[in-house]
Structures are given as C-alpha cells and as structure tokens.
C-alpha cells in the first residue's frame, strides 16, 4: 500500500504563516507571568536542605511579623485542609502534597510557603523561618532502593518498589531457544527532562461571591481542573481554568498540580489572587519536573543473517520521591515496544522505584525516548556482533510496507508506514557514501569521527490505555478531543478549542482544517480557547495527539456545519440538499448553477430570518464535534494485549560527529532526518517540531542531567549546571519529508511532536560509539558528557 497525500488540498500541507506567531513576535502573547491582578499576592517556597529528614519543628513567627507578609503556611496546615494529589498508580500510602508533611523526601522539596505583597518580601521572609530537622540517611540509587534493608522513602508504603510487572508477548523462551545467537547489554538514560525556558507559573483567584476559583496556569495537563477540585475539595464546576494563557514551552513537563493546590488553597484562605511563579532554582530542584531515570537490561535473540527474533527487557526507573504519573512512562512505550521491526516476541519487566530525589513528570514521548535508545542500541549491537552493516540490519528487520496494518506482539496495530523508503530518503539526503568518506578522512587526520543511525516510531493520537496495564483501577477508555465552529451573522468563522497551547500551533491547525473543509481562507478564521467550564470535553494537548484529535474534531465540526449550510441553502433554492453543490462557501443549484446563495446570504438567513429556515434547523450557524481516539475503547485482553495509540509516524536520523580525543568533546557537524507523519498540515510547524525535538535529544544525549551528589544534595540548580544546548551545539539540521497517510485520520495526518526527541539520543549515541570504535571502547550511559568520554579514552593511564 503506497499512498500519497490528497493532491487537491486547498490549504492543508501548504506553507502558511502560523497564526500564533504574530502575537509572539510582537511581544504581545499573554503568558501567566503577564497576568497580575490588582492586589495579587506572591508566593515563595522554602526548600528542604536535606534529602531525607524528619521535620521536628517550624518557627515562622519572625516571618509572619515581617511587613508585607500575608500568610505563612506549612505542610501540616495544608494536609489538614486538602487531599493528597492524585497519582497514576494506586498508592494510598504514598501521599503527595504541595508541602512536606512530617518528613522531607528530597533536597529541594518545599517545606514552607509564604504569601506576601511582593515576591521580594516573600523571599526575605523565607530567611526568617527556622526549621528544626532531624536528618536521616537518604536512598539515592534505584538498585539499592530495591534491597530488603533499604531506608524507606515512604515508610507507610512498606517498600521502595512502586510497581513491578512482567509481560510476555509471544513465545519468548522458544524464540530464544531457537536463536542462532544472543547478546545482552545494559544502557542507562540519565535523569533529564525538556526544561522549558518559561518556568511553571500559576495564578489562582477565589471569588466568594460566585464560588469560582479562577486559574491561569502555564499548563499542559490532562484532567487538571478535576485534580485541583479534588485536592481542594470543591465542586469541579467551581473551578475555571483559563485556557487562553500562552504557555512558554511545555514538552510534557508543565503539570504544576502541587503549585496549583497551594495557591488555590491560599487564595481561598486569603480572599485574594495569589500567584506562584517558579524561579529557576525552584524549577530545577523542586518543581517535580524531572524526567525518566532509567536502567535497561536487555537480551536479544537473533539469527546469523541479523534477523531479530525476540527481546527480554528489564526497565528499572527511578521515579523520585513522588511519582505522580511518572511510572506510566514505563507503560506507554509498550505501544511500540518492538520499534519498526518485525520482532516476534518480547518479555518486558518494568519496575518503578521511589528514591530521595525530586519527583518525575511526563516528558516528551512519555518514556519512548529512553526505550527507543535501548531498542536502537540493540540493533547496533546485533550488527556489531555479526559484522554486518548497521543500515542493512535495519533494512532486514523493518516491517515491510505491504504488511500494514501490522500487529505487534503486544497487541497494537501499526496503521501504516514505509520504513525502507524513509531510510532511503535520509541516506540520499545525507549523501551517505560521501559521509562515510568524510569520516575516514577525519580519522586519518587523527580525529575521532562517527556517523550515527537511528530510526524511531512515534506513537501518536494518544489514548492512555497503558494506565490500565499498570493499574486495573484505571478502567478508562475514553480519550476525546473536541472542537466547535461558529459562523457569526457577518459571516466570520470562529473555531473554539477546549485546551491551551504551548507552541504547537493549534490555532493554525484548527484554522487550516476548518478552512480546508469549508473552503474558506484560514487567515480569516479566528481560533479561541474556551475555559474549562465553557468548553466541550477534551483531554489535553499531550501524547502527540492534536493534529489527529483536534484536527479530526475540527474536520468533524466543519462537516456538520457544512451540512447545515447546504440544508439552509437548498431550502431557499427550492430544492433538496442532494441537488445542490457547495463551493467556497456558496451553494448552487446543480441543475442551474446560476441560481445560488452566497456565504453572506446564508449567514444572514441563519441568524436573522427564521421564515427562510428549513424545518428543524435551529437558528445560527454552529456545530461541534467530539472525537474519540480511533481504535480505542477496548480494555486489554487476558494476555495484556491492547491497542495503545492509533497512529505511528516514523523517522530516520543520521548525524555526523567529531570527537576530540584530548578533551572528550563531541561536536555534531551535520545532522540529517527523513520524517513521515502522514499528511502534513503545516510544513513549517512539522519541520520545527522535528528539529526542535532533535535539539532536546542532543541535550539529553550529551549534556543534560539533574545530578545529586553522594549525600543527596542537588547540584544542578542553575542553567550553569543544568546545561542545555545553544545554537553552537546544534547543527543546522537538514530534513526531508515522506508521506504515508494514516487510514485512520481526517486527512491522513499522524503526530509529529515527539519523533525528533525519540530519535536523536539514539542517533547521537550511535555516532559517538561509531567514533569511539577505532579505540575499542563504547559508552552506554546518557548523557555522554565530555569528561566521561575522555575518561573512557584516557583513563587507563
């Protein structure tokens, strides 16, 4: 099956300025930090200096006496008035609260909060608070945390293991027994995340007269309002989340539940607007925004010709002190647990442990990036073991394009793809043979140089059926997204979405799809964000799902609207809906095209002339559509087989790196990608998503890590220590598109928000190890920092 995108598209796939860009380049976006109501109070939080300690006493009298201080709140007070925050797994004895209660569990955990007239005064007050701690020895290593006698992060839970599972999909033992060869390896993904330039911020304002808690937040979080209402013990429809706040980057990590519970509580207590804007120290040390921290132990069974038959994977993840939804990042990668390969069987043992580090948060790809790094390492190792070319081994294992839809052992059906074609495209783009020659030339000059290769599947569309695999109480199968479309009496179109946006261009997406379906100019379509009380049901702009889900909802709403327009017009043309033609907003009598109603006329009738409306059509011109994820809706079968996510995009990455053997410094000279996300809605947005993900992947591969010292002190507290790549570290990325449309979506589109980040760490690791190969060493832990690499090369002496 080889399809190409519809060629008769008016607006979809065409270059078009991104609607959101206008306000952003003008400096007139409205981020949460820009919303400061009169009388707003500002919160600062006191971090725990110890990774694990009993809180013996807190003396805040001096802080309370400081002029300008309005409230000092402790964990004890908060625990008395709020519920613990909902977490993904069923962990009744792991109580996650905004402020530490009785015990601190990581260095940087919030212990006391101050609300004051200014953040300056609030910070002054923090210095006046005396906390008497009884320090305890922390547990920092996930493997040690599993030991019988390990100190317990949550004593009431009885163990540091939060989750341990075993899944067997297909005849693993038989496949291993029958294999020509096996190999095993360990890789480690370091504790990093996507760290937006905007920290998390939230403003809460309680209005007793209307029983409304208004929330403005830098948020990207499913069921956010639900969680706030539950923790604050107020009705859900008292909470109004303003989704029209621009979010300064999210990439998964903008969750902010504890922040919101804290300011929500304070606003209700003080009867004033209260805001908490993380500063960078709070953000890095205690924002509950660290990512996966994972050790994979993998065994691979394969044949002499390089065909991989089976894998056994143990994944141990350190979720930190408060896991939140973090552990689910072990389950979502089940959606593509065999990558783009025809692997017959898989054993998967995910383990989540708690430790005295900051809590884990969903990060771009939701666990898929570490997993893809492991899978691609496996393929490189098979090639190495057999002395085969890395590209050739991939080709031999790829699912063929004729095999789609393709069911993988864990029960997920891949919708479509042409992996061989995409790989060929990136090789052509990179002029691969010339690249290898350049590598040899640099090696001959005494430099270490390497070419990397990695592919990745991007599961997109986002259901969360993986939750049920880890927590049978999470019997949830509905993952909808919604869109409304309204045409006003002057004929202008407005699309209404029910979530916020954080740089993905959702307004452009909706306008483009509405414009496509209604054959109207997208630049003239306004797109707005309904607040959480006014909008229709949605999940969230997560899980690489909006092109599919919001785009699909917009298409559905537009089609309903168009039907209504046609009925109104047909009625006024004195004929039937099947006897008219819709074109660019006008409706003509098919039998006599000179007889027509223009867009403006139809709009006027709909809003003003009941006497011209057909029977049964309500006034106005509006429609909405709520789309359920395609292919979702079924629980896993008795073998834990389930459809996770509907659509599968694909990328192939080839970086070229040089490595200075004297300092260990890696320089990425060139980077090539071919990507296939089906039908592209907006080519500039897709390119930006892909390349932006690559840059974050470069950070995870080479630089970024939330580090703790052996005593559990956090040592990555500033941007001088948590090192994110600048333009000097990221090369100009060359990319090429391929299009294998999804049969499941409105226009054949798939998701593309994550793939760059899924492929790049594996690709860079592959390139670095290729560079190191002549020296007979390799590295299997991210980030591969220059000092680590130098030590591998020169540490022997």
């Amino acid at each position: 099956m080889r399809e190409t995108a519809r060629s008769n598209l008016l607006h979809v796939s065409r270059k078009r300025r991104v609607k959101e860009d206008k306000r952003f380049v003008s400096g007139t976006g409205t981020y949460v930090q820009d919303v400061v109501p009169k009388g707003c109070l500002h919160v600062a939080v006191l971090p725990s200096p110890y990774p694990r300690a009993k809180i013996v006493a807190i003396d805040s009298a001096k802080a309370e006496a400081l002029p300008g201080v309005r409230a000092v709140v402790t964990g004890e007070e908060l625990a008395a008035h709020t519920m613990p925050i909902y977490q993904g797994l069923n962990l009744p004895n792991v109580r996650w609260r905004p402020l530490a209660h009785e015990m601190t569990r990581y260095a940087g955990e919030w212990v006391v909060a101050v609300a004051a007239d200014s953040v300056h005064v609030a910070e002054d007050a923090l210095e006046l608070i005396a906390v008497d701690y009884e320090p305890l020895s922390p547990i920092l290593d996930p493997e040690l945390a599993m030991a019988e006698d390990a100190p317990l992060v949550h004593p009431d839970h009885g163990t540091n293991v939060l989750y341990r599972g075993e899944f067997n999909w297909g005849p693993v033992d038989d496949d291993f027994a029958a294999a020509d060869r096996t190999l095993s390896f360990r890789v480690r993904w370091g504790r990093s995340s996507t760290v937006p330039i905007e920290t998390f911020g939230v403003l809460a304002s309680w209005h007793a007269g209307t029983d409304t808690l208004d929330i403005w937040a830098s948020i990207q979080m499913p069921k956010y309002a639900e969680q706030i209402a539950a923790a604050l013990k107020i009705p859900l429809n008292d909470v109004r989340v303003h989704n029209d706040v621009d979010v300064g980057g999210a990439y998964g990590v903008k969750r902010g539940i504890k922040h919101t519970v804290l300011v929500g509580y304070l606003s209700r207590k003080l009867g004033a607007p209260v805001r908490l804007i993380e500063d960078r120290l709070v953000n890095l040390a205690g924002g509950d925004a660290h990512g996966p921290d994972r050790i994979f132990d993998t065994e691979v069974a394969f044949s002499e010709n390089g065909t991989i038959a089976s894998m056994k994977i143990r994944a141990l993840d350190d979720a930190g002190a408060y896991p939140g939804r973090g552990p689910y990042q072990l389950a979502k990668p089940i959606s593509a647990i065999v990558g783009p390969y025809r692997i017959n069987s898989v054993r998967y043992e995910p383990i989540s442990v708690t430790s005295n580090k900051c809590g884990q948060v969903p990060v771009r790809g939701f666990g898929q990036a570490p997993t893809n790094y492991m899978i691609e390492t496996a393929v490189d190792k098979v090639a190495d073991a057999l002395g085969l070319d890395r590209i050739e081994v991939r080709r031999r294992n790829f699912i063929d394009r004729e095999q789609f839809p393709y069911m993988i052992p864990s029960g997920t059906e891949y919708d479509s793809g042409d992996y061989h074609a995409v790989l060929d495209k990136v090789l052509e783009l990179a002029k691969y043979d010339d690249l290898l020659e350049r590598r040899e030339r640099r090696r001959a000059e005494g430099m270490l140089a390497g070419v990397g290769i990695a592919t990745c599947l991007e599961p997109s569309g986002g259901n969360t059926m993986f939750e049920y695999l880890m927590n049978p109480q999470a019997e949830i199968t509905t993952f909808m997204e919604s869109c409304q479309v309204r045409v006003d009496s002057h004929g202008r179109i407005t699309g209404i979405m029910g979530t916020g946006t954080s740089g993905q261009g959702h307004e452009t997406l909706v306008a483009t799809i509405l414009g496509e379906e209604l054959e109207r100019e997208p630049d003239e379509i306004r797109v707005i964000h309904a607040d959480s009380r006014a909008g229709f049901p949605t999940v969230a702009p997560v899980a690489s799902r909006m092109a599919i889900m919001l785009g699909g909802a917009a298409a559905g709403a537009a089609q309903k609207l168009k039907e209504r327009i046609i009925r109104i017009a047909a009625h006024n043309l004195g004929t039937t809906p099947d006897a008219v033609e819709y074109s660019a907003g006008a409706v003509r009598d098919s039998a006599d095209p000179a007889r027509k109603l223009d867009w403006e006329e139809i709009c006027f009738i709909a809003h003003n002339q009941t006497h011209k409306m057909p029977e049964g059509i309500e006034p106005g011109l509006q429609a909405y559509h709520i789309l359920q994820v395609p292919g979702g809706g079924r629980l896993p079968d008795e073998h834990d087989r389930v459809q996770l996510y509907p659509c599968f995009a694909f990328q192939a990455h080839i970086p070229f790196v040089e490595l200075d053997p004297g300092t260990g410094k890696v320089t990425i000279n060139e980077y090539y990608i071919a990507h296939d996300c089906g039908t592209v809605i907006n080519p500039d947005i897709v390119r930006g998503m892909v390349i932006g993900g690559v840059a974050q992947g470069i950070g995870a591969a080479l630089y970024e890590k939330f580090s703790y010292d052996p005593d559990g002190q956090f040592i990555s507290g500033t941007f001088a220590d948590y090192i994110m790549p600048s333009v000097f570290e990221v090369p100009y990325v060359e990319d090429v598109e391929h299009c294998t449309p999804s049969p499941l979506t409105s226009h054949g589109q798939k998701g593309t928000g994550e793939g760059g980040y899924l492929g790049a760490p594996a690709a860079i690791a592959s390139a670095v190890n290729d560079a190191l190969r002549p020296r007979g060493v390799s590295i299997h832990e991210l980030p591969m920092r220059m000092a680590d690499i130098e030590d591998l090369l020169n540490g022997g002496d």
């Binding site: 400096g27 007139t28 300064g248 333009v727 100009y732």
Partner: protein, 162 residues
Amino acid sequence: MSAPRRVSLTVNGIERSGMAEPRLTLLDFLRYELGLTGTHMGCEHGVCGACTVLFDGDAVRACLIYAVQAEGHAVETVEGLCNADGSPGPIQDAFRDAHGLQCGYCTPGMLISVKALLQATPDPSDDEIREAIGGNLCRCTGYTQIIDAVRLAAAKAKGAGT
C-alpha cells in the same frame, strides 16, 4: 537608600519613569512597573537570554542590570521593534515567514539579539548569526528555522535598501 526611588529612562524612544527599589532588576521594572511584558524571565542568572534588551544600543541581559542603573539610559525592547501601529516590523515578519519560533517565550530576546546583529552586520555569515544568538537559548525550534529567519531578515533588508 534601599527604599524605592524614581527611575527615569527612555524606553523605545519614549521618556518613561517608575518607582524601583535598588534590588529591582531592569527586567522586573520593564515588566511590572512599565507594563512592557514582552521581555521575558527565563533564569534570572544571565544564562538563557530570554530577557535580552538593547541598552544604549547594545544587547544585554535585563536580569543582570538593576533598574536604578538604567537611570538616564535608553532601552529598547521587543515592543520597540514593531511598527508605529503595533504591527510586526521587518525582523519580526521574517521570523513569521520562516516560522523561527514556536512557543514565543525566547522570541523577544532572540529578536533583540538579531536586531543588534543586523544593525552592526547587515549581511551576516552563518558563523556571525550563531555568535549573535549563541547567548539566547531556545527550547522549541532547535535553532534551524531561527537561522533561516535571520538569513531572510538580512536578505529582505538588503532588498529593501537597493
């Protein structure tokens, strides 16, 4: 005196003044005293560049200057890059045409650095572009489309000049 004092300066060509404790940064002064929220806070320790403004014509970090130090000086912010009617100016339009941004948070600082570059170096090489924006971290774009945008802005300015 640590008490607030009046600070007067020129912002985007207009005389402005406001009150500032000595410890108030120029960043916070612009945002919260003058209401110019286009300049963004990213780290407050001089690494990320989100708060970049022109100070007497030079690109600097607004988080590393106290407002009281700006007394009598000229500051230009992203709002000052717009046309008189508030519509985007030429560098801003080049960023739109190349989609050299996503979430928009680093964008004002990036635009200011580019403005400083192009006023000194109208036809920059790619190395000069990297040098100019090397102190502005962007987390969304991976920089490639930003480089495209700067190239486009330079080309357009050249075209407009001839």
